[in-house]
Subunit: 155 residues, 2 copies
Amino acid sequence: MRQHAAGVAVITTRTARGDEPVGFCATSLNSVTLDPPTVSFAVATGSTSGAAWLTAAHGIVHLLRSDQTAVASAFARTGPEKFAGPVGWRWGPHGAPLLDGVLAWMVVRTRIRLVVGDHLLVLAEVQECVVEPGGAPLVYCDGRFHGLSGLFGGS
Amino acid sequence: MRQHAAGVAVITTRTARGDEPVGFCATSLNSVTLDPPTVSFAVATGSTSGAAWLTAAHGIVHLLRSDQTAVASAFARTGPEKFAGPVGWRWGPHGAPLLDGVLAWMVVRTRIRLVVGDHLLVLAEVQECVVEPGGAPLVYCDGRFHGLSGLFGGS
């Protein structure tokens, strides 16, 4: 799966006690179905975000821009200092941290949780979606960040 | 989710009766956990592949190269003629169709099926993985095919 390209997202929520922002860098975000609009993502059960998503009802999925590698790297690390890092944020809908300047963001509501090996797979319904004008996605593949090139047509 | 970039895969298996190859173009492929190595993908329940994956125990996940847009387009259409299309194939492990000349391919075994809206979410364990030398991944984003550009560092 190292050869598999994936858009880079930062997924945020708050701790079960509700007083701390949590977030992680995800390359496992996917659309599962459009009706109802449902995405999936996987989070390590042993992480702070994994613990939070065991109970979190809502969160925000942020798609990163190609110039936000520093944001991706910050949220790929462990520890609360990621929210003091290279991107501004504020408390957003449902009390989840909302990051500034991303490509697009979605408020999601947890529908199904599944423990698979050492990861929690979360299926969540998209309740609200905001696409910021301009910008291109950040992509992760084979251990590195990339942009997109070469439109090859398509549907 | 149109703004979300995703690697392009063709996922094959055979019909429940076992005598016909089936396959579809997936942009929903993801790694869920490495221990055990598990991927997920979503397939429309109303499609031929959806019907096959309701019972299929095994299949092959092919990651496409950036020059295989014709293969992606062929497998994005409905109908059995996709196997008479732009890519050669043979019967591979566990009787699943194995496509020629892809970036990488994995033999997978179904572990969990989940019906979510009008899609079937399949979680499958990777049993065997072959990465062909050279090549770069085909990426789909915002209705078009892309290649990768610009290595931005990373881990």
